[in-house]
Symmetry: C2
Subunit: 195 residues, 2 copies
Protein backbone atom coordinates (compact mmCIF):
# COMPACT_ATOMS: atom_id res chain seq x y z
CA UNK A 1 0.00 0.00 0.00
CA UNK A 2 1.51 3.32 -1.05
CA UNK A 3 -0.82 6.28 -0.54
CA UNK A 4 0.86 9.44 -1.71
CA UNK A 5 -1.00 11.95 0.43
CA UNK A 6 -0.47 9.77 3.50
CA UNK A 7 3.27 9.52 2.82
CA UNK A 8 3.46 13.30 2.31
CA UNK A 9 1.77 13.87 5.66
CA UNK A 10 4.06 11.36 7.39
CA UNK A 11 7.07 13.14 5.88
CA UNK A 12 5.81 16.49 7.14
CA UNK A 13 5.50 15.14 10.67
CA UNK A 14 8.96 13.61 10.38
CA UNK A 15 10.36 17.09 9.85
CA UNK A 16 9.44 17.96 13.46
CA UNK A 17 12.31 17.69 15.97
CA UNK A 18 12.84 14.21 17.40
CA UNK A 19 10.10 12.54 15.35
CA UNK A 20 10.93 9.27 13.57
CA UNK A 21 8.90 7.30 11.04
CA UNK A 22 6.80 5.32 13.53
CA UNK A 23 5.81 8.40 15.53
CA UNK A 24 5.09 10.38 12.36
CA UNK A 25 2.89 7.53 11.14
CA UNK A 26 1.01 7.56 14.44
CA UNK A 27 0.45 11.32 14.17
CA UNK A 28 -0.74 10.96 10.56
CA UNK A 29 -3.25 8.26 11.50
CA UNK A 30 -4.55 10.48 14.27
CA UNK A 31 -5.18 13.20 11.67
CA UNK A 32 -7.06 10.73 9.44
CA UNK A 33 -9.20 9.70 12.40
CA UNK A 34 -10.55 13.17 13.11
CA UNK A 35 -13.18 15.07 11.19
CA UNK A 36 -12.28 17.36 8.32
CA UNK A 37 -13.09 20.54 10.26
CA UNK A 38 -10.62 19.65 12.96
CA UNK A 39 -7.91 18.82 10.41
CA UNK A 40 -8.51 22.12 8.61
CA UNK A 41 -8.28 23.99 11.91
CA UNK A 42 -4.94 22.28 12.62
CA UNK A 43 -3.63 23.31 9.20
CA UNK A 44 -4.95 26.84 9.69
CA UNK A 45 -3.20 27.15 13.06
CA UNK A 46 0.13 26.29 11.42
CA UNK A 47 -0.27 28.93 8.72
CA UNK A 48 -1.67 31.57 11.11
CA UNK A 49 1.14 31.13 13.61
CA UNK A 50 3.72 31.49 10.87
CA UNK A 51 1.96 34.50 9.32
CA UNK A 52 1.12 36.38 12.52
CA UNK A 53 4.20 35.82 14.60
CA UNK A 54 7.17 38.08 13.97
CA UNK A 55 10.06 39.07 16.16
CA UNK A 56 9.73 41.92 18.65
CA UNK A 57 11.91 44.84 17.49
CA UNK A 58 13.13 45.36 21.03
CA UNK A 59 13.77 42.01 22.68
CA UNK A 60 13.86 39.68 19.68
CA UNK A 61 11.27 37.32 21.17
CA UNK A 62 8.29 36.06 19.16
CA UNK A 63 5.52 38.66 19.05
CA UNK A 64 2.33 39.38 17.15
CA UNK A 65 3.07 43.12 17.21
CA UNK A 66 6.13 45.28 16.40
CA UNK A 67 6.92 45.63 20.10
CA UNK A 68 5.85 42.73 22.32
CA UNK A 69 3.61 43.12 25.34
CA UNK A 70 6.44 42.43 27.80
CA UNK A 71 8.60 45.19 26.31
CA UNK A 72 5.66 47.61 26.33
CA UNK A 73 4.60 46.99 29.91
CA UNK A 74 7.50 45.74 32.02
CA UNK A 75 10.24 47.51 33.90
CA UNK A 76 13.28 48.20 31.68
CA UNK A 77 15.66 48.89 34.58
CA UNK A 78 16.57 45.25 34.44
CA UNK A 79 17.11 43.03 31.39
CA UNK A 80 17.38 39.24 31.46
CA UNK A 81 19.47 37.95 28.54
CA UNK A 82 18.58 34.50 27.15
CA UNK A 83 19.66 32.44 24.19
CA UNK A 84 16.36 31.54 22.53
CA UNK A 85 12.65 32.46 22.61
CA UNK A 86 11.82 29.23 24.42
CA UNK A 87 14.07 30.35 27.29
CA UNK A 88 11.85 33.42 27.75
CA UNK A 89 8.89 31.08 28.26
CA UNK A 90 10.93 29.23 30.90
CA UNK A 91 12.17 32.35 32.70
CA UNK A 92 8.68 33.87 32.76
CA UNK A 93 7.72 31.16 35.23
CA UNK A 94 10.18 32.66 37.73
CA UNK A 95 7.89 34.55 40.09
CA UNK A 96 10.44 37.02 41.49
CA UNK A 97 11.49 38.53 38.17
CA UNK A 98 9.53 41.39 36.74
CA UNK A 99 11.81 42.95 34.12
CA UNK A 100 12.14 42.59 30.35
CA UNK A 101 14.06 40.00 28.32
CA UNK A 102 16.58 40.05 25.52
CA UNK A 103 16.83 37.12 23.12
CA UNK A 104 20.31 36.73 21.62
CA UNK A 105 19.22 34.17 19.03
CA UNK A 106 22.22 31.95 19.79
CA UNK A 107 25.52 31.97 21.62
CA UNK A 108 29.01 32.74 20.34
CA UNK A 109 30.31 29.49 18.88
CA UNK A 110 33.50 29.39 16.79
CA UNK A 111 32.78 25.73 16.04
CA UNK A 112 29.48 26.60 14.41
CA UNK A 113 30.96 29.69 12.83
CA UNK A 114 28.84 32.08 14.90
CA UNK A 115 30.62 35.23 16.06
CA UNK A 116 29.50 38.20 18.21
CA UNK A 117 28.03 39.98 15.16
CA UNK A 118 25.76 37.04 14.34
CA UNK A 119 23.78 37.33 17.56
CA UNK A 120 21.84 40.30 18.94
CA UNK A 121 24.59 41.87 21.09
CA UNK A 122 24.56 45.33 19.43
CA UNK A 123 20.81 45.52 20.05
CA UNK A 124 21.40 44.72 23.73
CA UNK A 125 23.97 47.51 24.09
CA UNK A 126 21.68 50.10 22.50
CA UNK A 127 18.76 49.03 24.71
CA UNK A 128 20.91 49.37 27.83
CA UNK A 129 21.93 52.90 26.78
CA UNK A 130 18.45 53.93 25.61
CA UNK A 131 16.67 52.89 28.80
CA UNK A 132 19.56 53.60 31.17
CA UNK A 133 19.27 50.02 32.41
CA UNK A 134 20.62 49.28 35.89
CA UNK A 135 21.21 45.54 35.71
CA UNK A 136 21.67 42.88 33.05
CA UNK A 137 21.18 39.26 34.14
CA UNK A 138 22.88 36.64 31.97
CA UNK A 139 20.55 33.61 31.93
CA UNK A 140 22.45 31.50 29.41
CA UNK A 141 22.94 27.75 29.62
CA UNK A 142 25.81 26.86 31.97
CA UNK A 143 28.04 25.37 29.26
CA UNK A 144 31.25 26.53 27.54
CA UNK A 145 29.48 28.59 24.89
CA UNK A 146 27.03 30.12 27.34
CA UNK A 147 29.81 31.10 29.75
CA UNK A 148 32.01 32.54 26.99
CA UNK A 149 29.13 34.59 25.60
CA UNK A 150 28.25 35.87 29.08
CA UNK A 151 31.88 36.92 29.67
CA UNK A 152 32.10 38.64 26.28
CA UNK A 153 28.91 40.61 26.84
CA UNK A 154 29.82 41.60 30.40
CA UNK A 155 33.10 43.06 29.15
CA UNK A 156 31.21 45.20 26.64
CA UNK A 157 28.71 46.31 29.26
CA UNK A 158 31.08 47.22 32.10
CA UNK A 159 32.16 50.60 30.59
CA UNK A 160 28.45 51.58 30.55
CA UNK A 161 28.30 51.34 34.34
CA UNK A 162 25.64 48.65 34.33
CA UNK A 163 25.67 45.81 36.86
CA UNK A 164 26.06 42.47 35.12
CA UNK A 165 24.99 39.35 37.02
CA UNK A 166 24.32 35.78 36.16
CA UNK A 167 22.15 32.95 37.51
CA UNK A 168 23.76 31.20 40.47
CA UNK A 169 25.22 27.78 39.82
CA UNK A 170 24.80 25.05 42.41
CA UNK A 171 22.92 21.91 43.28
CA UNK A 172 19.30 21.62 42.10
CA UNK A 173 16.38 21.52 44.51
CA UNK A 174 15.39 17.93 45.19
CA UNK A 175 18.50 16.47 43.60
CA UNK A 176 20.70 13.89 45.33
CA UNK A 177 24.28 14.84 46.20
CA UNK A 178 25.36 11.36 45.17
CA UNK A 179 24.29 11.94 41.56
CA UNK A 180 25.45 15.54 41.23
CA UNK A 181 28.47 15.96 38.96
CA UNK A 182 31.76 17.22 40.36
CA UNK A 183 31.83 20.50 38.45
CA UNK A 184 28.42 21.45 39.83
CA UNK A 185 29.49 20.47 43.34
CA UNK A 186 32.65 22.52 43.10
CA UNK A 187 30.67 25.54 41.84
CA UNK A 188 28.22 25.05 44.72
CA UNK A 189 31.13 24.90 47.17
CA UNK A 190 32.67 28.12 45.78
CA UNK A 191 29.40 30.03 46.05
CA UNK A 192 28.35 28.59 49.42
CA UNK A 193 26.07 30.87 51.42
CA UNK A 194 25.61 31.50 55.16
CA UNK A 195 22.59 29.78 56.70
Amino acid sequence: MYIESLENLINSFRSLPGVGYKTAQRYAYSILNRDIQDAKQFAQNIVSAKENIKFCNECGNFSESEICETCRKKNKDIICVVKEPKDVATMEKVKNYDGVFHVLGGTISPLENRGPDDIRIKELLSRVQKYNTKEVIMALNPDVEGDATAMYISKLLSPLGVKVTRLAQGISMGSELEFTDEVTLSKAMESRTKI
Copy 2:
Protein backbone atom coordinates in the same frame (compact mmCIF):
# COMPACT_ATOMS: atom_id res chain seq x y z
CA MET B 1 4.09 36.54 27.07
CA TYR B 2 0.80 35.22 25.72
CA ILE B 3 0.72 34.95 21.93
CA GLU B 4 -2.64 33.67 20.81
CA SER B 5 -1.63 32.11 17.49
CA LEU B 6 1.33 30.39 19.16
CA GLU B 7 -0.90 28.96 21.89
CA ASN B 8 -3.40 27.76 19.26
CA LEU B 9 -0.62 25.98 17.39
CA ILE B 10 0.72 24.42 20.59
CA ASN B 11 -2.79 23.20 21.41
CA SER B 12 -3.13 21.65 17.96
CA PHE B 13 0.10 19.73 18.42
CA ARG B 14 -1.02 18.66 21.88
CA SER B 15 -4.00 16.93 20.27
CA LEU B 16 -1.61 14.42 18.67
CA PRO B 17 -1.27 11.10 20.52
CA GLY B 18 1.30 11.10 23.33
CA VAL B 19 2.26 14.77 22.94
CA GLY B 20 2.44 16.90 26.11
CA TYR B 21 2.87 20.66 26.46
CA LYS B 22 6.69 20.73 26.30
CA THR B 23 6.84 18.60 23.15
CA ALA B 24 4.04 20.57 21.51
CA GLN B 25 5.90 23.78 22.28
CA ARG B 26 9.04 22.35 20.70
CA TYR B 27 7.09 21.40 17.56
CA ALA B 28 5.50 24.86 17.39
CA TYR B 29 8.90 26.60 17.64
CA SER B 30 10.18 24.38 14.85
CA ILE B 31 7.30 25.60 12.68
CA LEU B 32 8.14 29.24 13.48
CA ASN B 33 11.76 28.61 12.55
CA ARG B 34 11.05 27.47 9.00
CA ASP B 35 10.07 29.58 6.03
CA ILE B 36 6.44 30.32 5.22
CA GLN B 37 6.40 28.08 2.13
CA ASP B 38 7.42 25.07 4.17
CA ALA B 39 4.80 25.82 6.83
CA LYS B 40 2.11 26.18 4.16
CA GLN B 41 3.16 22.88 2.61
CA PHE B 42 2.85 21.20 6.01
CA ALA B 43 -0.64 22.64 6.44
CA GLN B 44 -1.58 21.61 2.90
CA ASN B 45 -0.41 18.03 3.51
CA ILE B 46 -2.73 17.77 6.50
CA VAL B 47 -5.76 18.95 4.55
CA SER B 48 -4.90 16.91 1.43
CA ALA B 49 -4.43 13.71 3.38
CA LYS B 50 -7.77 14.19 5.09
CA GLU B 51 -9.55 15.12 1.85
CA ASN B 52 -8.04 12.47 -0.42
CA ILE B 53 -7.93 9.47 1.84
CA LYS B 54 -11.11 7.45 2.20
CA PHE B 55 -11.71 3.87 3.19
CA CYS B 56 -11.47 1.06 0.63
CA ASN B 57 -14.98 -0.39 0.06
CA GLU B 58 -13.56 -3.90 0.15
CA CYS B 59 -10.95 -4.17 2.89
CA GLY B 60 -11.69 -1.05 4.95
CA ASN B 61 -8.08 0.15 4.80
CA PHE B 62 -7.18 3.74 3.94
CA SER B 63 -7.25 4.31 0.19
CA GLU B 64 -7.26 7.17 -2.29
CA SER B 65 -9.68 5.25 -4.57
CA GLU B 66 -12.96 3.37 -4.03
CA ILE B 67 -11.14 0.03 -4.11
CA CYS B 68 -7.53 0.07 -2.91
CA GLU B 69 -4.62 -1.16 -4.99
CA THR B 70 -4.07 -4.24 -2.83
CA CYS B 71 -7.68 -5.34 -3.25
CA ARG B 72 -7.51 -4.76 -7.01
CA LYS B 73 -4.27 -6.62 -7.60
CA LYS B 74 -3.67 -9.25 -4.94
CA ASN B 75 -4.80 -12.84 -4.57
CA LYS B 76 -8.19 -13.07 -2.83
CA ASP B 77 -7.89 -16.78 -2.01
CA ILE B 78 -6.44 -15.72 1.30
CA ILE B 79 -7.48 -12.86 3.56
CA CYS B 80 -5.50 -11.56 6.52
CA VAL B 81 -7.78 -10.00 9.16
CA VAL B 82 -6.34 -7.13 11.20
CA LYS B 83 -7.70 -4.69 13.73
CA GLU B 84 -6.61 -1.32 12.34
CA PRO B 85 -5.17 0.24 9.17
CA LYS B 86 -1.77 0.60 10.81
CA ASP B 87 -1.65 -3.18 11.23
CA VAL B 88 -1.91 -3.54 7.45
CA ALA B 89 1.23 -1.41 7.12
CA THR B 90 2.95 -3.74 9.60
CA MET B 91 1.78 -6.99 7.97
CA GLU B 92 2.76 -5.76 4.50
CA LYS B 93 6.37 -6.02 5.61
CA VAL B 94 5.93 -9.80 5.92
CA LYS B 95 7.60 -11.06 2.77
CA ASN B 96 5.89 -14.45 2.55
CA TYR B 97 2.32 -13.14 2.46
CA ASP B 98 0.80 -12.15 -0.84
CA GLY B 99 -2.95 -12.01 -0.20
CA VAL B 100 -5.40 -9.25 0.65
CA PHE B 101 -6.30 -7.75 4.03
CA HIS B 102 -9.45 -7.03 5.95
CA VAL B 103 -9.53 -4.22 8.51
CA LEU B 104 -12.09 -4.80 11.26
CA GLY B 105 -11.84 -1.29 12.64
CA GLY B 106 -11.64 -2.57 16.23
CA THR B 107 -12.12 -5.71 18.26
CA ILE B 108 -15.19 -6.92 20.17
CA SER B 109 -15.00 -5.24 23.56
CA PRO B 110 -17.94 -5.35 25.97
CA LEU B 111 -16.06 -2.95 28.25
CA GLU B 112 -15.92 -0.31 25.53
CA ASN B 113 -19.44 -1.15 24.43
CA ARG B 114 -18.31 -2.50 21.04
CA GLY B 115 -20.18 -5.56 19.83
CA PRO B 116 -19.84 -7.73 16.68
CA ASP B 117 -22.10 -5.39 14.68
CA ASP B 118 -19.86 -2.41 15.37
CA ILE B 119 -16.87 -3.86 13.53
CA ARG B 120 -16.61 -5.04 9.92
CA ILE B 121 -17.47 -8.73 10.41
CA LYS B 122 -20.47 -8.83 8.02
CA GLU B 123 -18.24 -7.37 5.30
CA LEU B 124 -15.68 -10.11 5.92
CA LEU B 125 -18.29 -12.86 5.56
CA SER B 126 -19.59 -11.47 2.30
CA ARG B 127 -16.06 -11.14 0.88
CA VAL B 128 -15.29 -14.74 1.80
CA GLN B 129 -18.43 -15.89 -0.02
CA LYS B 130 -18.02 -13.57 -3.00
CA TYR B 131 -14.42 -14.60 -3.72
CA ASN B 132 -14.72 -18.19 -2.51
CA THR B 133 -11.77 -17.54 -0.21
CA LYS B 134 -9.78 -20.59 0.92
CA GLU B 135 -8.13 -19.27 4.08
CA VAL B 136 -8.65 -16.49 6.59
CA ILE B 137 -5.68 -15.59 8.82
CA MET B 138 -6.53 -13.86 12.08
CA ALA B 139 -3.69 -11.39 12.74
CA LEU B 140 -5.16 -9.69 15.80
CA ASN B 141 -3.21 -8.63 18.86
CA PRO B 142 -2.61 -11.56 21.24
CA ASP B 143 -4.73 -10.15 24.08
CA VAL B 144 -8.13 -11.03 25.55
CA GLU B 145 -10.13 -8.94 23.10
CA GLY B 146 -8.11 -10.04 20.09
CA ASP B 147 -8.46 -13.71 21.03
CA ALA B 148 -12.20 -13.40 21.71
CA THR B 149 -12.77 -11.63 18.39
CA ALA B 150 -10.75 -14.26 16.54
CA MET B 151 -12.79 -17.06 18.15
CA TYR B 152 -16.08 -15.34 17.35
CA ILE B 153 -15.17 -14.84 13.71
CA SER B 154 -13.83 -18.35 13.28
CA LYS B 155 -17.15 -19.77 14.51
CA LEU B 156 -19.03 -17.74 11.91
CA LEU B 157 -16.63 -18.80 9.16
CA SER B 158 -16.47 -22.52 9.83
CA PRO B 159 -19.88 -23.33 8.21
CA LEU B 160 -18.57 -21.70 5.01
CA GLY B 161 -15.86 -24.35 4.73
CA VAL B 162 -13.02 -21.84 4.89
CA LYS B 163 -9.82 -22.63 6.76
CA VAL B 164 -9.28 -20.21 9.66
CA THR B 165 -5.77 -19.83 11.03
CA ARG B 166 -4.01 -17.41 13.31
CA LEU B 167 -0.46 -16.14 13.78
CA ALA B 168 1.67 -18.51 15.87
CA GLN B 169 2.40 -17.44 19.43
CA GLY B 170 5.84 -18.05 20.88
CA ILE B 171 9.12 -16.43 21.80
CA SER B 172 10.34 -13.52 19.66
CA MET B 173 13.47 -13.73 17.53
CA GLY B 174 16.42 -12.29 19.41
CA SER B 175 14.59 -12.15 22.75
CA GLU B 176 16.07 -13.56 25.95
CA LEU B 177 14.31 -16.49 27.61
CA GLU B 178 15.01 -14.86 30.97
CA PHE B 179 12.85 -11.86 30.15
CA THR B 180 10.04 -13.67 28.35
CA ASP B 181 6.78 -13.74 30.33
CA GLU B 182 5.34 -17.04 31.53
CA VAL B 183 2.21 -16.97 29.37
CA THR B 184 4.30 -16.59 26.22
CA LEU B 185 6.65 -19.37 27.35
CA SER B 186 3.75 -21.69 28.05
CA LYS B 187 2.23 -20.94 24.60
CA ALA B 188 5.65 -21.59 23.04
CA MET B 189 5.88 -24.88 24.90
CA GLU B 190 2.40 -25.97 23.74
CA SER B 191 3.17 -25.21 20.11
CA ARG B 192 6.73 -26.58 20.16
CA THR B 193 7.95 -27.77 16.76
CA LYS B 194 10.30 -30.56 15.67
CA ILE B 195 13.80 -29.43 14.75
